[in-house]
């Protein structure tokens, strides 16, 4: 039997301005009909590049250097553009990470659905419209008869992602390449999309390449898993085998990071409370409340995790605490004194003790300032440091975040994602704060890099006794780092308490939903969960 897709000795290179550097190194990959292959690795591993190469496509600035890509016996490498065009979208389809950015906002969903089949001359628009309803139903979209007539902005993120899967399915392709289709979604929404993908690929017997950095996600879908790193194959095996007994050290690392770290002995105490949010309500337009009666207190040297889906008001609370959004009612008390509600009326000393770290280190650092200036400014601003005293302190800060002194004149674009986030941490530390608000600080980072950041934060807390308010939607992170947990839903606190209490049943219904939605490494997890939820 010939394989559906067979890639042999594939080399792909990217142009860096003056030379071609390898992105994918001598990879062999094959796919049988109906098989789901998981591609795993951190960013820069070459997984997306490889996934696209399966369609004979490379991004701009990249080229296939050598190798062979055979689809159903036809060679795609070096095939004419016309031949490739006939295949793409038709026999091989692609689902991108961000559905919101991939849909044309000016057209209704079904019109975009019908584009490929009509273009390829497979069916008339009216037929495609009827087919769409069918596919929408199979993908468990609500109201399948009418949802196609909505515009992309009229459906939720998870629904849009499924609408994109439907689009890819429109021509009944032999292979679909899924490129991180759930990475941008909340855990609770991720389940819907995963369930839909699993259902439709098995019902239509479609082969799939599933690209992700999350092993637990791929465990639910893939028959076989390939682990990539720096464009090289680390390990390839049957999905169950790789999860049960990984052979390579790197795979083991990927698997191990989700394990929960030991609890520190933590008791709730009223002493050393540094931040107290009292009865705070807030709104952006003055009428609709984004936050309702929030009460939180944070103790010195502890970490409080603030958990919830996107839109639950987590980041808004951070804006209220920092003074960017003055609350409608309630107070923020810091070390016993009430902070003025607006940023402009807070004193420099009050600002200094409360620092913030952001989700995207790329936008949180001014690309035109080098490390010396980024770290030097808060030192000069808060402590009036200059010259060699400042230089010495900058070096100390670099040591704290485990970056070499030689980096001092580098600009942010000369750093990796993890190094940038470390720099953001150092910038916050430069102010010698009592409390740091960490807003989704690891969610833009690769798993192992994120793990490094969490460990660094932990180490700094042990050394400096700084407190963290850790905002996140990722419960694995919460389990790893927090002392106390606050669960938020639609602007209200659903549940709060010390970690052990929150994580042990009985849970509040919403906490339970969140907790049960975290993918586990068990390949049966998704099926079991869906079964349980159906019963309930």
């Amino acid at each position: 039997m010939t394989k559906l897709l067979e890639i042999k000795n594939l080399f792909i290179e990217g142009f860096t301005g003056d030379q071609w550097l390898p992105i994918v190194n001598d990879i062999d990959m094959s796919l049988n009909k109906g098989e789901v292959l998981g591609l795993i690795g951190e960013s820069g591993a070459g997984k997306s590049t490889l996934g696209m190469a399966a369609m004979g496509y490379t991004r701009q600035g990249c080229r296939i250097a050598s190798g062979s890509i055979q689809f159903n016996g036809t060679e795609l490498f070096g095939a004419s553009k016309g031949d490739l065009r006939k295949l793409r979208g038709n026999r091989i389809a692609y689902v991108a990470q961000s559905a919101a950015a991939s849909f044309n906002p000016a057209h209704r969903l079904v019109r975009q659905y019908a584009e490929a089949p009509v273009q390829h001359g497979l069916m008339k628009f009216a037929e495609a419209e009827r087919e769409a309803v069918d596919i929408y139903r199979q993908l468990l979209l609500p109201d399948p008869e009418h949802i196609g007539y909505r515009y992309p902005h009229q459906v939720s993120g998870g629904q849009l992602q499924r609408a994109m899967v439907a689009m890819a399915m429109a021509c009944r392709p032999d292979i679909i390449v899924f490129d991180e289709p759930t990475t941008a979604l909340d855990v609770t929404t991720q389940i819907e999309v995963l369930a839909a993908i699993k259902k439709i690929t098995s019902e239509l017997d479609t082969a799939a390449i599933y690209i992700t950095h999350d092993l637990a996600v791929v465990a639910q879908l893939a028959d076989r898993i390939m682990v990539l790193r720096h464009g090289n194959l680390v390990e390839e095996n049957d999905a169950r085998k790789i999860l049960a007994e990984p052979k390579e050290e790197y795979t083991r690392q990927l698997l191990s990071v989700r394990t929960i770290r030991d609890d520190k002995a933590v008791f709730r105490s009223d002493r050393d409370v540094i931040l107290k949010v009292e009865n705070v309500s807030a709104s952006y337009d003055g009428s609709e409340l984004v936050l309702q009666d929030i009460d939180i207190s944070i103790t010195s040297g502890r970490t409080v995790a603030l958990v919830g889906e996107s839109g639950s008001g987590k980041s808004t609370l951070a804006r209220v605490i920092t003074g960017l959004l003055p609350p409608l009612q309630g107070h923020i008390r810091f070390e016993g004194e009430t902070l003025p509600p607006a940023l402009a009326s807070r004193e420099r000393e009050q600002l200094r003790k409360l620092q913030m770290i952001y989700q995207m280190p790329d936008t949180a650092l001014n690309p035109r300032q080098n490390i010396r200036k980024i770290l030097g400014r808060p030192l000069a601003f808060y402590f009036g440091m200059r010259g060699s005293v400042m230089g010495k302190r900058i070096k100390e800060l670099l040591e704290m975040i485990e970056l070499p002194h030689s980096y001092i004149n580098r600009y942010p674009n000369e750093l990796s994602g993890g190094e940038k986030q470390r720099l953001c941490i150092a910038r916050a530390l430069a102010a010698e704060p009592r409390l740091i608000i960490c807003d989704e600080v690891t969610s833009a980072l690769d798993q192992l890099v994120a793990e490094g950041i969490l460990q660094l934060l932990q180490k700094l807390q042990n050394e400096l006794a700084v407190s963290y308010l850790f905002i996140t939607h990722d419960l694995a992170t919460v389990k790893a780092i927090s002392d106390e947990i606050v669960v938020m839903l639609r602007g209200c606190i659903v549940e709060q308490g010390i970690k052990k209490e929150i994580l042990t049943p009985p849970h509040h219904a919403y906490t339970n939903l969140l907790l049960s939605s975290i993918p586990e490494m068990d390949p049966e997890w998704l099926d079991k969960l869906l079964e349980e939820r159906r019963m309930a």
Partner: protein
């Protein structure tokens, strides 16, 4: 020196542009030395063809065109640079202010700019210049003010985008004052579009001065300026005489030169490191 290091790595187009601008500036500085006649001296017949005595022929009053071109460079380049620079300083500062402060500051500045822009620029300039008189200073200030409305719009839009980024928020949370935000956080990141606009605005200034000169409110004759020379001699083109093309060519020469340099700046400014 850093500048020479940068120059050595510059592409050929930038070097050509630099050479073009240097030639123009040298011509301006050395005008009295290298020009064969006086700026306003009438030396021959009207619209003489280029020849032995008159390298580029003569103009509509019989003055040597080459001489006038050299002297014209002095007025044109100095005024155009001064005007463009002033308009950028005023427009960018106001634009950054509006974007950073928002609220009433933004509203009042923006509406003021709207009102100025609602008048056709030429008529507005005529109005103001006929009141304050047509000195070079007045000319520079008026044109710069009119141009600054466009710079204001651009810099406000760019600054708004930058303001939404987290590093600006981080600086605000640190307690930084507005001047620091504008100078250190916004300006360096707003440079590329502003520099590009500079190249474009720069050449419009000649044309505007030329239009004003034509109406008698620009540089007063017999002072030479390139735009004015095009206007004065424009009629010649209908007789197949090429005289107006020389000053027009000089404007084009300088504009292309400036824009080649601007392109290079843009390239250097857009990425600190080369990327594909």
């Amino acid at each position: 020196m850093a500048f020479f290091k940068l120059l050595r790595s510059s592409p050929i187009s930038a070097r050509i542009g630099l050479a073009m601008v240097l030639i123009s500036i040298l011509a301006a500085i050395l005008a009295p030395v290298i020009s064969p006649y006086g700026e306003t001296q009438i030396v021959g017949d009207v619209w003489q063809s280029p020849g032995k005595d008159h390298f580029l022929g003569t103009d509509h009053l019989g003055r040597d065109l080459f001489t006038r071109l050299l002297y014209g460079a002095r007025n044109t380049i100095a005024i155009a640079f001064a005007t463009t620079l002033l308009s950028f300083v005023v427009g960018a500062v106001a634009g950054f202010f509006a974007a950073t402060l928002g609220g009433w500051t933004d509203l009042s500045l923006s509406r003021m700019v709207d009102i100025i822009m609602a008048f056709p620029t030429l008529i507005f300039a005529l109005m103001v210049l006929s009141v304050v008189g047509t000195s070079v200073t007045a000319l520079i200030v008026v044109i710069a003010l009119l141009d600054s409305t466009r710079v204001y719009r651009l810099s406000r839009a760019v600054a708004m985008d930058i303001n939404a980024l987290e590093f600006v928020e981080a600086a605000r949370l640190r307690g930084e004052r507005i001047w620091w935000l504008m100078r250190h956080e916004i300006l360096p990141n707003a440079m590329p579009p502003l520099v590009a606009e500079f190249g474009l605005r720069f050449c419009f200034v000649f044309l505007f001065i030329a239009a004003l000169s034509f109406l008698g409110l620009g540089l007063q004759p017999p002072t030479a300026d390139w735009g004015g020379m095009v206007r004065e001699n424009a009629g010649a083109i209908t007789f197949g005489i090429l005289t107006p093309l020389w000053p027009a060519g000089a404007i084009a020469f300088l504009t292309v030169g400036v824009n080649l340099i601007v392109d290079w700046f843009l390239h250097v400014a857009s990425g600190l490191k080369e990327t594909a």
